[in-house]
Symmetry: none
Subunit: 235 residues, 2 copies
């Protein structure tokens, strides 16, 4: 319960857990602990190659703890804060999920077999969100995808809110999905809304706030790249 305060400092999240009890330790660090820093490097270069490993190892530990904490975050019923317990709970949870998933999937299979209905998806898509005729899938004039708005806003510590609107033509949605899939980001929530002439895409991404501008540029260039190939056909 008291071993992750350095995560609290160094990491990003997890602001709960009060009291930073352990002694200092951070980017700074006195790094000649008290008075004895002992053996290696008898004189001359005190911290060249020998102490390069120290910071490396420190980072490794830090990252590992961050990951471990992230693991703990996705497991709902945690009992103890032990490192070992965290992993154990994660294992149990995974097995539980697998079991449950298998059960529900077989259940679906059975229900499908029992129902000769099986129309499945005869209709490609109902226009949904009723009214407003002017069916959502129409060409409009623009040659291909055209970006109308793009915002990448940091939400809290390590979450980015991507919000883009673009013109909508046939196949735009799939292209957009493929585009974001290709980035393989850690998407928390995605949301696509189609309306007569435009397409709105909102998604929460787990990423460091530092990546904000990079991500925005990445999206812009990718969409721009979607425009130039003059092969329009490809649903």
């Amino acid at each position: 319960m008291l071993w992750m305060e350095n995560i609290e400092n160094v990491g990003d999240e997890c602001r709960n857990y009060l009291h930073t009890p352990y002694l200092l330790e951070n980017q700074e660090y006195s790094w000649t602990i008290d008075g004895y820093y002992d053996s290696s490097s008898p004189d001359g270069a005190p911290s060249s190659a020998a102490s390069k490993n120290i910071v490396s190892e420190r980072n490794r530990r830090k990252q590992l703890n961050q990951r471990l904490f992230a693991l703990r975050a996705v497991v709902p019923n945690i009992t103890k804060m032990d490192k070992a317990s965290i992993i154990k709970d994660a294992i149990d949870y995974i097995q539980q999920l697998q079991e449950e998933l298998a059960k529900t999937q077989t259940e679906i299979m059975e229900m499908e077999c029992n129902n000769p209905v099986t129309e499945e998806q005869p209709r490609p898509l109902p226009q949904l969100l009723g009214s407003h005729n002017t069916n959502v899938f129409n060409s409009a004039s623009s040659p291909n995808i055209q970006l109308l708005q793009l915002n990448v806003t940091p939400m809290g510590d390590n979450i980015l809110l991507v919000n883009l609107t673009c013109t909508k033509r046939a196949g735009t949605i799939v292209k957009l999905c493929q585009l974001f899939e290709s980035f393989n980001l850690k998407i928390i929530t995605a949301n696509i809304t189609a309306l007569p002439g435009a397409l709105l895409n909102t998604l929460f991404i787990e990423a460091d706030v530092k990546e904000k501008d990079g991500l925005k540029m990445q999206i812009e260039t990718a969409i721009a790249a979607l425009m130039d190939p003059p092969s329009p056909m490809m649903t």
Copy 2:
């Protein structure tokens, strides 16, 4: 790739992974490593209280590695053998499983609704799935609804895009819906997304661009009005 041979020895399973490269270490163990066992216990009792911690720590490490390896065993698609990578893959896999399970469960729900025939469901719903709780903003602390972001952007001639995020508590969604209903705007498309700690609301409104600022203020004041009544309970 070479750090879990001791698990291989000590643990139970996973006989694959050849070569036990690292130096010895096991139940036996020379436990005065090479020639120097150094400092503690200047004389008399060489291993009483001081070196009791050593074996304890050794067991802790062993157990932690066993658990970590067991975790790796239940995750299907592992890439690297890194400790950190193992945890990362486990996290991704858990999220993937959660998503999949939610999908299939809603699918079952839909099928059941369409078919009043099928009785035969012994259990109404297993618990789990939802509630990742934990982070995505601390949430928690805020007393009621808290507005995190609000944008009112004109889209074209007479369309306004309202985009707001707020903290999510019990009853937040209904309140928000009632709020927007009370405005009786011409809503073209509305979209609400709930994620663990926050609530995202996106809607297209048919209104003149002149009303932009007025609408924004209207929303802000309405939400602010929702905050002050100190009656927190309200499903």
